[in-house]
């Protein structure tokens, strides 16, 4: 089970990994492995469209505008599930 965890989401990948076996116990996911992909903070400038990461000086490195959106870094998303063939055949 692969999930994405944004740097600013508030979720802690280490804790998720630690608690996952407990949470999945007794569910169809028991025994499965959790893969956590961290997602770094990215901004996108509303003025010039430039994408950039977190930096010390706030604002767009290309045009200096502070009118920017956080494009990723706050998400907690399930991205994919990897299943061995034949495993779910009984369903």
């Amino acid at each position: 089970v692969e999930i994405e965890v944004g740097e600013l989401s508030g979720a802690v990948p280490e804790l998720l990994a630690e608690l996952y076996p407990l949470a999945s116990e007794g569910t169809p996911l028991e025994g499965s492995r959790l893969l956590v992909r961290r997602v770094a903070v990215r901004f996108e400038c509303r003025c010039c469209g430039q994408g950039f990461g977190r930096r010390r000086d706030p604002g767009c490195p290309q045009c200096g505008s502070t009118n920017v959106d956080l494009s990723c870094g706050r998400e907690i998303r399930l991205t994919s599930i990897d299943v061995e063939e034949g495993e779910g055949a009984g369903r």
Binding site: L8, S9, R54, L70, I76, R77
Partner: protein, 238 residues
């Protein structure tokens, strides 16, 4: 076999929050989620903002989130706004379901609804409660590195309120440091400096809130009294 899913976790809370947001929009309510550490002055700030907003003809109500007691709701009601207390009995944040239940207990939706979250800069940052604006408070005695330590809280905020400016002499709080750190995760973050003791900065913050509401809903319902409808004079025939 790899199955690609892409589904938001916390999707249940997000769905409830989206429903609340639609409800607020229909009612012309600007919902403001107030978050900070315990003791930064969230309730004191509301106590100051309520009379200032009412003076401007804006109706206000408050949802008070606390782990225990109804102290804050009593304080806010004394300041002149209807309040609903949510006691979380141990939970460290409000979620959309708790806020939806509290909203049902409000007699009517106001023009500005403050949702005072549980005092905590960690978990409240992760739970959308249907707000239109998030305000994060830091107070001078807490230190100027709060935005560096708790970037999640500032990432989605509309404004940072630096409170207790009356204590500046005793605190080594560098406003520039806090602002720089806050804006490094949120370049559009607005900043206000307030003192609930002296009332300094409260008018500017109230003005900003009113402007945010007008941005969303226009000026409708803003005036204290509706201008009387003018009757059109009957046309005289020649």
């Amino acid at each position: 076999m790899k199955i690609v899913v892409v589904k938001r976790i916390l999707g249940d809370n997000d769905r409830r929050a989206a429903a609340l947001r639609r409800k607020f929009r229909r009612a012309g309510t600007l919902a403001v989620n107030l978050i900070s550490s315990p003791g930064s002055g969230k309730t004191a700030l509301i106590e100051r903002l309520v009379p200032e907003l009412r003076r401007r003809g804006v109706s206000v109500a408050v949802i008070e989130g606390d782990v225990a007691t109804t102290n804050d709701a009593e304080r806010v009601e004394a300041a002149g706004a209807p309040a609903v207390q949510v006691t979380t009995s141990g939970v460290c944040h409000l979620n959309a379901a708790m806020v939806a239940a509290a909203v049902r207990r409000l007699e009517k939706l106001p023009q500005i609804l403050f949702i005072e979250n549980v005092g905590n800069l960690v978990c409240p940052a992760a739970f959308d409660v249907g707000e239109a604006e998030r305000l994060v408070l830091v107070s001078l005695p807490e230190g100027d590195d709060k935005p560096e330590k708790y970037p999640e809280a500032f990432a989605g905020a509309g404004a940072m309120v630096i409170n207790k400016t009356d204590l500046a002499a005793g605190c080594r709080f560098r406003v520039s440091r806090a602002v720089l750190a806050g804006r490094s995760v949120n370049p559009r973050l607005a900043v206000f400096e307030t003192s609930c003791r002296s009332g300094g900065g409260i008018r500017a913050l109230a003005g900003w809130l009113v402007a945010r509401r007008e941005e969303r809903f226009g000026l409708e319902g803003q005036a204290k009294t509706r201008p009387a409808k003018r009757r059109r004079a009957p046309r005289r025939r020649k």
